[in-house]
Symmetry: C2
Subunit: 233 residues, 2 copies
DNA sequence: ATAAAAACGTGTTATATAGCACAAAGGTAA
DNA sequence: TTACCTTTGTGCTATATAACACGTTTTTAT
């Protein structure tokens, strides 16, 4: 494995939204206080109940935020792609984590102590607006998701998840293969259904020529139809 | 109807969390820019799809934030009690409303143009922290709720709603009658179930002596048992 | 290379909850 | 009062989806 250390500048370029509103002194302060951490595939990043200490920025990889509910069933709440921030909500709400986070793939994460962030927030209002915007977007998504997951039928929920994965992580060069290869179980946990129903429904979509499945590789063929299925529930 | 105009000071006292971090000049600015609006019982406050323009602070009354989903089913996303702020999320996310709001009871609402708020935010970092905190709390609740509504069984969801209503709106002098009188339909929409199942489950709780129902009046008798039912799903 | 363990796939059954129909009660308006 | 509409309540039926069991394939570890 080639391991290249990321330079300070490279880090900064990776996290422009947060970095940009800062003064030079503030940038310096941040640069002196972050650490880099690597996580293996499927490794837990934080657990439910733990006390949040750092703002995390995903520099490389893919992360799931999930919650274990009743009867061992797990629900994926949201997913993180590179250059996104996470793990800060609970700190701001003055709570322990109510969710857990794990790496879908090998990840590189930049950690910044929340105390540093709060210090910067007290002197830089633009930074505050950055978090307000991010939290507002996430809250809207969460509200939409509550209704989708409770009211749509299985086919609608799975179609929605497939489209959502395309939106979030994009596709490969062929423009239709999802760039993320999830297990059937993760797909089920994302879509609020059992693993067997995810498998069955995926097969149905394939025989209806809406998608092509090759192991964990999923090609979206008829996106319009999938959107329709997602919409009508 | 006795109509008493609220004085500036009274308004200010009603909204301390937002008011408190402001300088005198900022308070003055706010005081010159708010308006008061009254809404009748069941009146719509804003609709899905509309463009948000004002921060709203509920001075008096009770409000539901809801979303109409597939097949005419409505889901109550959250409820607002007096002295709480709402309607600002969509503006910060630069979206139109994805939810609607309506008055459970006659309401008095203070409206502040979001442009004013943004102006204050740019010069007052403490105010930013207020919104960050509020959004963070709401996002946590929304995440918890997603899992509850999808994974718990009917009894668990209804028990949770009853306890939630007690937490939010409190009880009357007898210490057990919920201070809010909801229709069975609203109770169902809060708990993600059909009206008939809300009625049935409520009756079951009553015959199990967990609650006493008298029309829309609900007394919580065995709160411990309700908590247990809510927890195990 | 081989064993062990995960993940995947499929058929069958069980069940929670939605859907529907209809009656009774309560509130509202003329 | 009468009529009317909404809300509440109840029984029955239909159905979507979970649960289970079991075989096959793929991945991982030794």
């Amino acid at each position: 494995m080639v391991k290249k250390e990321l330079s300070e500048t490279e880090i900064a370029e990776s996290i422009p939204d947060l970095w940009q509103p800062l003064t030079d002194a503030q940038k310096d302060y941040l640069a002196q206080n972050f650490t880099i951490q690597k996580y293996k595939k499927n490794e837990t990043i934080y657990c439910e109940g733990e006390t949040p200490k750092h703002l995390m920025c995903l520099l490389k990889g893919k992360v799931k935020i999930y919650k274990d509910g009743v009867g061992g069933r797990s629900q994926i709440i949201r997913v993180i792609k590179d250059k996104e921030y996470f793990a800060y909500r609970a700190y701001f709400a003055n709570e322990n984590f109510v969710t857990a986070a794990a790496a879908f793939e090998p990840c590189t994460i930049c950690l910044i102590p929340m105390t540093c962030i709060v210090k910067l927030l007290e002197e830089n209002a633009q930074l505050g607006l950055f978090f307000i915007r991010q939290l507002s977007i996430d809250l809207g998504i969460s509200d939409e998701r509550t209704v989708s997951l409770t009211q749509k039928h299985i086919r609608g929920r799975l179609a929605e998840s497939l489209l959502f994965l395309k939106d979030t992580y994009g596709v490969e060069e062929d423009q239709c293969t999802l760039s993320i290869y999830l297990s059937r179980e993760d797909l089920a946990n994302l879509s609020n259904m059992t693993t067997s129903n995810a498998i069955r429904t995926l097969s149905n979509f394939a025989s209806e020529k809406l998608i092509i499945i090759d192991g964990r590789k999923i090609k979206l063929i008829d996106e319009e139809k999938l959107k329709k299925i997602s919409k009508i529930g």
